[in-house]
């Protein structure tokens, strides 16, 4: 007998359904990167399940030739938690947006993170409601003029990375639609993490919020405005890699490498929650003078928190081991019975 191993390709992960996002939407890139990464994971495709909520991004499962569920608004995280807990053998992915995860699904989102089931969550953040045609979202900047806020939005936005760290997430990363290589690398790392992997993806909605992340994604400004974090390496950025981040106690500062030695820079340590928290606050408006660059890559990684699905099934196995498999007749009869003749 020979074991037949067929190498899967990205085509194997494309369903026969026509992709129907607006031309130019950032979602296309994310779909492509996921379909590129999956064949390399060495896993049969029937073991992948994609679960989404509602929103433009949530159409994603229909385009993947895997198992999938396009569920209801905000609840994909809860459905995925139920599926992963009962079927730990599967690779379960959640596709969600900023509105789906942090507005209507905010409760399930934070509770998923604290429980830490082994899920891969791709959070498409476009800072707008696209499917309902352009209302502000919980990540839209304050003052945003939209159909529902003609005089500007009043809400202060969420900082998604800070929110996730606050909920004790064990893998928190950020990437962008316009950088396929970075995206693929982060998605792969998320997959490898045991526990909930939360990947925020800056995704351009070219119809209702075009250019929201332009400053981070376009050639002219990208190097100056973004900070690519790599574990064990100094935090360096800038057009000519001339700038770095230095920590003075808990206070970060931007320094010029002409003045400061690379050895004195902040060395990125993914496992350091305090430092990850500081990095998560590099969230300034890029138009403000003296702002920090926006970090991309893995902010935080914690391998010491056992995933919920493992705890959940261990408890069942321990119970069976300790008490033996249940005897239904005995259970139904209970402790005290009497006979009527």
């Amino acid at each position: 007998m020979t074991i037949e191993t067929v190498k899967l390709t990205s085509k194997d992960f494309s369903s026969d359904q026509e992709v129907r996002w607006c031309p130019g939407c950032g979602d296309y890139s994310i779909l492509k990167q996921v379909q590129t990464v999956l064949p390399d994971l060495g896993r049969p495709k029937e073991e992948f399940v994609f679960i989404s909520g509602i929103g433009c991004s949530s159409r994603f499962p229909y385009y993947m030739d895997t198992f999938g569920m396009h569920s209801i608004h905000g609840r994909a995280t809860a459905i995925a938690t139920g599926l992963k807990s009962t079927r730990p053998d599967l690779s379960v992915w959640v596709i969600t947006g900023d509105g789906d995860s942090m507005s209507i699904g905010g409760n399930h989102f934070i509770h998923m993170l604290r429980r830490n089931p082994d899920l891969n969550v791709l959070l498409f953040n476009n800072q707008i409601y696209g499917l309902t045609k352009g209302q502000y979202s919980p990540t839209s900047e304050q003052g945003k003029v939209t159909k529902s806020t003609p005089m500007g939005s009043l809400d202060y936005p969420f900082n998604p990375i800070a929110l996730c760290l606050g909920a004790d997430a064990t893998f928190v990363a950020r990437t962008m639609d316009r950088d396929p290589k970075h995206q693929q690398a982060v998605i792969k790392r998320g997959y490898e993490h045991k526990g909930t992997s939360l990947i925020e993806i800056y995704q351009n909605c070219n119809v209702f919020n075009d250019g929201a992340f332009e400053i981070f994604t376009e050639k002219g400004s990208k190097k100056q405005q973004t900070l690519i974090m790599e574990h064990g390496k100094p935090l360096i950025f800038g057009e000519n890699a001339q700038l770095g981040i230095k920590l003075d106690g808990f206070k970060p500062m931007v320094v010029n490498l002409a003045d400061v030695s690379v050895d004195d820079l902040w060395i990125h340590d993914e496992t350091d929650l305090v430092k990850a928290t500081i990095l998560s606050r590099f969230y300034d408006d890029p138009s403000v003078e003296g702002h920090f660059p926006r970090p991309f890559g893995v902010f935080y990684l914690n391998n010491n928190k056992m995933p919920f699905d493992e705890l959940f099934n261990n408890q069942i196995n321990n119970a069976i081991e300790s008490y033996g498999a249940g005897d239904l007749d005995k259970l139904i009869a209970g402790r005290e019975t009497w006979v009527v003749n």
Binding site: K45, F67, I72, L83, L90, E336
Partner: protein
């Protein structure tokens, strides 16, 4: 001293006290003793929503009523023969349902100035002194004082000592009704096995209560209530929520599917979670979610993965699950939704019973969204119907509502429990693996029951997508086609209707197959309607009683069964819900009879109402 023994056919005792007085535990222990003795019985725990309502107040009164006898017992009894009142508030709240001439056992310590004030009873109106209890057989005992005396050397504090008071009353009643104390002694020993001093104290006071009856001259009467002549077999005592949990577990074992229960704590459904969570060694997986929505959504995830998936709640919790029930209907996955109904709307009366969620189960979702609805009629029937709910959900790939209510959920009765080998088999078949050379998998291809294949993630060749958007029939692809939508709506309805071919026909519970009047009931009113019907028949009325358990779809013969009666009356603990559906579906001019007080029907109320209608 000498006592006389009298044999009684049945007795109703109501234990009433402060919610911290342990009346529920006292009642449950007495129930077990009566059950083990072989009496038939029915119980009615009636307690406030507050865990510790202000001590001594009317709001804080907790009651437990048990009706036990040597004859068939269907209800906890309209009136009590014996009232145990631990304080003046308990007496005030319960005296109206005590039989004229009934026995009142009072703890006199609960009638002091402070308790009078807390119960809003004026100082000069102490019922023990103002003659208002004339005509009752009042036994005044300072239970607090005796308990403290008995435990003077126990080394326990006053608070702990006072907590043993209920055991004195229980011991005394065991003596009055010739019940052995051994089972309760065993129960106390096991409950307080980590605190020997407390266990000893409770047992000592229990014995003191017994001896008090034996030695004082206050009680000249003891009573025998012989075992009931019940159908031969092995029995146990069972409460509704417990039976629900067992029914679900049984379905898991018989279908060989692991059970997943996704839920959120809520009164009175929580006990189903508590019960299920004890049996992890049965591969029972309970998940206390962050909210009601996550409770049902996690269950939908588990159903997708091939588990027997169940969610449970009450009242407002069910309202929150509504959208996800719609999703499950679109996904056509098996899902059981347990609703232990309570009085509503909104928070309503959380600890009180009502049957007011039938229309919600039928219609309470957006769009055309029919589901299966079953309703249990008694505590032990919860087992049978919870099992049925799972069977239908799994065999028909459909969401099923299982309705219970606060009254049967907390009530207890003797149960001639089944052998698991005798339970109807549940057959589940998952879609099989496919090779790439096979035809494309069609997730919405239907069988003769119109149910679709259950295709589990992890099965090669079955990759497919499902979701809340309208599906094209057979392929399951998203479809906005006008005719397809109409077809799918009709198919989902027909799928529900077809279940009628797989359930038993409606039977008449008592009475002839035709007559002047049919009492058509459903749910937890069964006992009261059964008792009322028996009395009406005995008095010569041509009345019959049918109790519906399969609410949607109805049994196929229900219309014909009703047509044999001149009048159909539908008594319900709501503002008229089943009656609306009956009138709509069968064009029968059924008469509603409604009670909306958070309390069950009393059988005499039903008797009077039926007589009024028949005039």
């Amino acid at each position: 001293m000498s006592t006389t023994d009298t044999t009684l056919e049945s007795v109703v005792i109501r234990f009433a006290g402060d919610s911290g007085d342990g009346m529920q535990l006292t009642g449950t222990q007495f129930t077990n003793a009566a059950a083990l003795f072989g009496n038939d019985l029915a119980t009615f725990p009636d307690f406030p929503a507050e865990i510790r309502a202000p001590i001594g107040t009317l709001a804080g009164v907790s009651g437990y009523q048990i009706h036990f006898g040597s004859t068939k017992i269907n209800t906890p009894g309209d009136e009590s023969d014996v009232l145990v009142a631990m304080n003046v508030a308990a007496l005030k709240a319960n005296i109206k349902n005590l039989k004229k001439g009934g026995v009142i056992i009072v703890n006199t310590d609960g009638f002091d100035a402070k308790n009078m004030r807390l119960a809003n009873v004026p100082e000069d109106k102490n019922p023990l002194k103002d003659g208002s209890l004339e005509g009752y057989d009042v036994k005044e005992i300072d239970v607090t004082k005796i308990t403290r005396a008995a435990l003077a050397d126990s080394g326990l504090g006053t608070k702990e000592i006072d907590r043993c008071k209920n055991m004195f009353v229980l011991g005394l009643l065991y003596w009055m009704y010739h019940r052995p104390i051994e089972n309760t002694v065993e129960f106390i020993s096991s409950k307080f096995k980590k605190n020997q001093a407390v266990a000893d104290a409770n047992i000592k006071v229990l014995q003191a209560g017994w001896s008090y009856g034996e030695t004082t001259e206050m009680f000249a009467q003891r009573y025998n209530v012989e075992p009931a002549k019940m159908e031969a077999g092995i029995y146990r005592s069972i409460m509704g929520n417990q039976a629900t949990a067992y029914g679900l577990i049984a379905a898991s074992v018989k279908s060989t599917l692991p059970l997943f229960y996704g839920t959120y704590p809520i009164t009175p459904a929580s006990d189903v979670l508590h019960e299920l969570s004890k049996y992890k060694n049965f591969n029972i997986k309970t998940f206390q979610a962050e909210d009601e929505i996550a409770g049902i959504c996690s269950a939908i995830g588990a159903a997708f993965g091939g588990h027997l998936a169940i969610t449970g709640s009450s009242g407002p919790g069910i309202a929150l699950k509504t959208e996800a029930i719609g999703l499950a209907t679109m996904l056509e996955l098996p899902l059981v939704i347990v609703n232990v109904q309570r009085a509503g709307p909104s928070t309503g009366l959380p600890t009180k019973t009502e049957q007011s969620d039938l229309l919600q189960a039928y219609y309470g979702r957006n769009g055309e969204c029919p589901v299966i609805v079953l309703a249990a009629q008694s505590p032990s029937d919860c087992f049978a119907l919870a099992y049925e709910a799972c069977r239908i959900a799994l065999e028909h790939m459909i969401p099923v509502f299982f309705l219970s209510d606060g009254y049967i959920a907390n009530g207890a009765e003797p149960w001639k429990f089944p052998k698991t080998a005798d339970l109807q088999p549940i057959s589940v078949e998952f879609a099989k693996e496919r090779k790439s050379s096979d035809d494309k998998f069609m997730p919405y291809l239907r069988d003769e029951k119109l149910s679709r294949p259950w295709a589990l993630p992890g099965t090669a060749g079955l990759e497919h997508r499902i979701g809340g958007l309208e599906k094209q029939n057979i392929t399951g692809n998203i479809s906005y086609d006008a005719d397809n939508h109409e077809l799918m709506v009709k198919l989902r309805q027909e799928k529900v209707d077809l279940v009628a071919n797989y359930i038993p026909e409606q039977t008449i519970d008592n009475g002839a197959e035709s007559g002047d009047l049919l009492i058509l009931g459903w749910g937890g009113t069964y006992g009261a309607l059964k008792t009322a019907t028996a009395q009406l028949i005995e008095e010569g009325y041509k009345v019959s009683h049918a109790h519906v358990r399969y609410m949607s779809p109805f049994p196929k013969n229900l219309g014909e069964l009703m047509s044999k009666f001149k009048t159909v009356v539908v008594p319900e603990l709501n503002n008229g819900q089943l009656v609306k559906i009956i009138r709509d579906k069968y064009f029968v001019d059924a008469i509603p009879y409604n009670k909306i007080q958070g309390q069950p029907f009393m059988s005499h109320e039903v008797v009077n109402k039926i007589k009024e209608i028949l005039v």
